[in-house]
């Protein structure tokens, strides 16, 4: 015969384990978003990189624009 104490302990253990599983299921049902990414603040690194690339492209366009303007002045 199984001692009552051990039986109760086993049931409690099984319950806690299954509760844990239920909680996990609930968490995975939430829609995942990059919350942690922004909490960590690291998304700003990516924003910075994009901003730098964009600044480079704009600088390139501005220089191209002014070069064409100079040529136009030369020819007119």
């Amino acid at each position: 015969m199984i001692p009552l104490k051990r039986l109760v302990a086993t049931v409690v253990l099984l319950l806690t384990v299954s509760m844990n599983l239920l909680a996990q299921q609930a968490a995975s049902q939430e829609i995942e978003m990059a919350d942690r990414l922004r909490e960590d603040g690291k998304i700003w690194v990516v924003v910075g990189v994009i901003a730098l690339i964009f600044a480079g492209i704009v600088l390139y366009l501005v220089r191209l624009d002014s070069k064409i303007s100079k040529l136009e002045k030369k020819i007119h």
Partner: protein
């Protein structure tokens, strides 16, 4: 400098879009998750393309009425920028689709229609390359431009709506509005359309100016 204020506006708008597009609040949607931010980047490419191809059509008609070769230059350069934006839209759509629809190029009527519409404009470029005489090239390609624009619009606006499609707002699907029910994306989406379109206009004007210079040099 007075004539260049819109270039500053372009940079300011796009800078705002790039930053807010990455960190701004977006609606929580299953499957889409954070990729809903592509609304500011992928979708705006197609908006820009339609605007450029329409501008190209307007200049083509202007050329046919005026016979002024600079109108044809503008028409051709706007068409080229439109094609560039279309290609970028296609590639970015494939990347987005592979993450959300599970296939970069699913057999979707809108994707196939867009590919055929792009082919109509590739044919426009081939047609332009086939002529030596400037006026002849301008006249025939301007006429073809009208035809291509009609085909393009039938293909991307009408046909996908007649059948089932994965794209929002097509084939009985609800429009994008359901994803943005509380309108948090509009303050970034509308500036994004304006910003990317203005960037395309800037690039087009640079190309038109180079063409003008080239013409002046060959006359000398």
């Amino acid at each position: 400098m007075k004539k260049n204020w819109w270039k500053i506006l372009t940079v300011v708008l796009l800078f705002y879009v790039l930053v807010m597009g990455m960190v701004g609040r977006v609606p929580r949607q299953p499957i889409l998750n954070e990729t809903v931010r592509n609304l500011y980047f992928h979708v705006t490419m197609w908006f820009g393309m339609v605007i450029f191809l329409f501008t190209s059509l307007v200049y083509a008609i202007r050329y046919l009425r005026s016979n002024n070769i600079t109108d044809d230059d503008k028409s051709a350069e706007f068409a080229k920028t439109g094609i560039l934006f279309g290609l970028i839209g296609y590639v970015t759509g494939a990347l987005w689709g592979s993450a959300t629809w599970g296939d970069p190029l699913p057999k979707d009527p809108k994707i196939i229609s867009a590919a055929i519409a792009m082919l109509a404009y590739f044919a426009y470029l081939v047609l332009r390359g086939a002529f030596e005489d400037e006026q002849k090239r301008a006249r025939i390609s301007s006429t073809y431009n009208i035809f291509a624009f009609v085909i393009f619009n039938v293909l991307i606006w009408i046909l996908p709506r007649l059948t089932d499609s994965l794209h929002p707002g097509n084939g009985g699907n609800p429009g994008f509005k359901i994803y943005d029910s509380d309108n948090v994306m509009k303050p970034v989406f509308y500036p994004a359309i304006m910003g990317w379109t203005l960037l395309g206009v800037w690039i087009t004007t640079l190309r038109v100016r180079i063409k003008n210079l080239d013409r002046k040099l060959s006359e000398v």
